[in-house]
Amino acid sequence: MQQSAAGRLTRAEAEDFLYFEAALLDEWRLKEWLELLTPDATYLIPPNDKPDGDPRNTLFIIADDAERIRQRVIRVLDPNCHAEAPRSRLRRSISNVRVLGQEGDLATVAANFICHRYRRHERIREYVGGLTYQLRITAGGLKIRQRRIVIDAHELGSLGSVSFIL
C-alpha cells in the first residue's frame, strides 16, 4: 500500500483498501482476508437496539477477538456450516468514505455500506449501515485493528442471521 508523503492516510488510500477488502469478502477469499487483520483485531456488530453499546456489558450480534475471527473463518468455510452451504452470494458497495482522524500509525475510517445477500429459494436480504474501522499503517500496508459494523435496521428481522462475514 502506497503511503502519502506526510504519513497521513488519505481518503483514496482508505477507499482502495476498503474496496479490496469488500472484494475478498464477496469472493469468500477469507484466508486472504485474515491477512488484512492485526494480531489483536476485533470484529464487532452491536445489537440493533444498542448501536453504541460496549460488548463487555451489552449483548452483541458479533463480538469477536482475533482468535474468534479465525475460528469464525474456519467455521464458515466448513461445508458443515449449514447456514452458508451453499454459500450466500454477496455483493457489497462501499461509499461516503471518510478518514475521521489519525493518531500515530492508527487511523479511524468511516464509510457507508450496502451488502446484498442472495441464497436460492430465500428472500433477498439487504444489509445497510455504517462501518467504522481502526486501520493500522504498517510497512506491509494497512491492517485492520478494529472493524465495527452498525446495521441501520431497527431489528434484524428478515435479515435473519449474520452467518457470513459482514
Partner: protein
C-alpha cells in the same frame, strides 16, 4: 381432528404436517393456545426506575410494559381508547405520560386517562373513568418473569407453571440474592418457519452432533475436551441428559454439562485468568446452597420450555427466547441474555462472550438451527404427499429413561398442543 397419532402399543408417534403450513390451524391456535395460555411479556429488570417502559408485541398485540411512579409494574394494550392509535411509539424510555399524537389524549403510567383536549365536548353518558388503557385480563409474575393471559378464567400463573418453577429456580439460584437481570442488547430476527419448529429445536439434543458439528469443532479447537458418546443405546452426546415432562405442556432437558458454564464450570475457552474467578463463584454457590444444589446449578444444563413459546436456555450462558407466528410459515424471535445482578465486570463480559460462542444470529450454532428449520419448512411444501412427521424416538422406554436426544419432550409438547386444539375456544 387430531393432528397426532399416538400409539403406545406399537410405540409410534406421528405428527400431521398441516400443523406447520395451514393458515386455518394458525387462526385456530391464536384462539385456542395464545388466547388461553400465560404468555411471557418481559422481565422486571427491564424496568429499573419508576417511569421506565418498553413497548413490544406479545402474541401479535402491541403492549406497553411499564413501571409506574409507585414502582408497580403494569401491562397495557398500546392502543388509544379514542380512535385506536398506538400511544407509546419508542422502543423503550422513561415517561410520565403516554401521549397520543393524533388528538392528544394522554394516559398515566398506570394506564389511567390523564387528559382529553376539549373534554367538555363529551356529554351524556360519557364517563372518563372508563377510558383508561385496556389491560390484558390477567398479568402476573414468577421471580420477576412477567406473563399476561387473555383468559380471565385461567389458573393463577404459579399453578400454570407448576413444576416448571423448580427449573426457573435453578436458573435464578445463580444469583446470590436471587435477582437476575436482563442484560442490555436485544437480538430480534425472523425465521422462515412455523413457530412450533422453534419449540422443538430449542430442546432437541438429537440434532446437536449433526447440525452443530462446526460448533463442536470450535470447542475442540478451543481446548475443550469433547468425549465421544459412550456405546450405549440411543446416546449421541458425550454426557447423559434426560428429557422431563413438567406438566401443562412444559418440559425441560436436564443434562450433565460438557460445554462449560460461566456459572461455574471453567473451560479453556474462558482463559487461564478466569480460573480463580470461576472457583470463587463456585465457592459462593457451595456456601449458599450446599454442595449438592451447587452442583446442580453449576454443572448441569437445562433448556426449559414454558408452554407455548417461552424458552429459557441455561447452557453456554442463559438466554430468554420468545417467538410469535407471523403467518404459518414465518416467526419473529426475540432473545435476551440473563445474568445475576451481582456479577462483576469481567464475569459479565465472560457470560456475554460465552453466549456468543453458541447463541444468536451471529453465534456459532444458532444460524445453523435457523437453516435447519427453514429447510424443514421448505420440505413441508410436500405435506399433502408426505403427510406425517416421525417422532417415535425412545418411545419404548419408561418415562424416567427418556434421554434429551429422544423425542419424549417433543411428544409432550404435541400432546398438550393437540389437546388444546381439540377444545372449544
Amino acid at each position: 381432528m387430531s393432528y397426532i397419532i399416538d400409539d403406545p402399543v406399537n410405540q409410534r408417534f406421528l405428527l400431521h404436517r398441516a400443523v406447520h403450513v395451514s393458515p386455518a390451524v394458525l387462526a385456530e391456535e391464536m384462539d385456542k393456545v395464545f388466547a388461553k395460555c400465560w404468555i411471557y411479556v418481559g422481565h422486571g429488570s427491564e424496568l429499573a426506575k419508576p417511569g421506565d417502559f418498553v413497548t413490544r408485541k406479545v402474541a401479535g398485540r402491541p403492549v406497553i410494559f411499564a413501571r409506574d411512579a409507585e414502582g408497580a409494574i403494569g401491562c397495557f394494550f398500546n392502543t388509544c381508547r379514542h380512535r385506536g392509535a398506538v400511544v407509546a411509539t419508542k422502543r423503550e424510555g422513561n415517561a410520565r405520560r403516554f401521549f397520543c399524537v393524533y388528538h392528544g389524549w394522554s394516559y398515566g403510567l398506570d394506564g389511567s386517562l390523564a387528559r382529553i383536549p376539549g373534554e367538555d365536548a363529551y356529554t351524556g353518558s360519557f364517563d372518563r373513568n372508563e377510558y383508561g388503557l385496556k389491560r390484558p385480563p390477567r398479568f402476573e409474575q414468577y421471580r420477576d418473569f412477567w406473563f399476561m393471559c387473555l383468559d380471565p378464567d385461567a389458573p393463577a400463573l404459579q399453578a400454570y407453571l407448576g413444576r416448571a418453577t423448580e427449573y426457573i429456580d435453578l436458573v435464578v439460584d445463580q444469583s446470590p440474592s436471587g435477582t437476575m437481570q436482563v442484560i442490555s442488547g436485544t437480538q430480534e430476527y425472523a425465521v422462515a418457519a412455523n413457530w412450533k419448529l422453534m419449540v422443538e429445536n430449542s430442546v432437541d439434543d438429537y440434532h446437536l452432533p449433526t447440525t452443530h458439528s462446526t460448533w463442536l469443532n470450535f470447542m475442540a479447537n478451543s481446548g475443550v475436551t469433547i468425549e465421544r458418546p459412550p456405546r450405549e443405546a440411543g446416546q449421541v452426546l458425550p454426557t447423559k441428559g434426560y428429557a422431563i415432562s413438567l406438566g401443562n405442556g412444559h418440559f425441560t432437558t436436564d443434562n450433565v454439562n460438557f460445554r462449560g458454564r460461566p456459572v461455574a464450570h471453567w473451560i479453556p475457552l474462558y482463559g487461564e485468568a478466569a480460573r480463580d474467578e470461576i472457583d470463587a463463584i463456585r465457592q459462593e454457590l457451595v456456601e449458599r446452597l450446599g454442595p449438592e444444589r451447587a452442583e446442580r446449578v453449576a454443572n448441569t444444563n437445562r433448556n426449559l420450555v414454558i408452554f407455548p413459546n417461552l424458552v429459557i436456555n441455561d447452557g453456554s450462558s442463559v438466554t430468554i427466547r420468545t417467538f410469535f407466528p407471523d403467518g404459518p410459515e414465518r416467526m419473529e424471535v426475540t432473545a435476551w441474555a440473563l445474568g445475576p445482578v451481582e456479577e462483576d465486570e469481567s464475569a459479565r463480559a465472560r457470560r456475554l462472550d460465552a453466549f456468543l460462542t453458541f447463541y444468536g444470529p451471529g453465534g456459532f450454532a444458532t444460524p445453523d438451527d435457523v437453516e435447519a428449520l427453514e429447510l424443514v419448512q421448505q420440505g413441508m411444501a410436500n405435506w399433502r404427499s408426505d403427510e406425517w412427521s416421525e417422532m417415535s424416538r425412545g418411545m419404548g422406554k419408561p418415562e424416567s429413561e427418556q434421554l434429551n436426544s429422544d423425542e419424549h419432550h417433543l411428544r409432550t409438547f404435541w400432546r398438550h398442543w393437540n389437546r388444546m386444539m381439540q377444545e372449544n375456544a
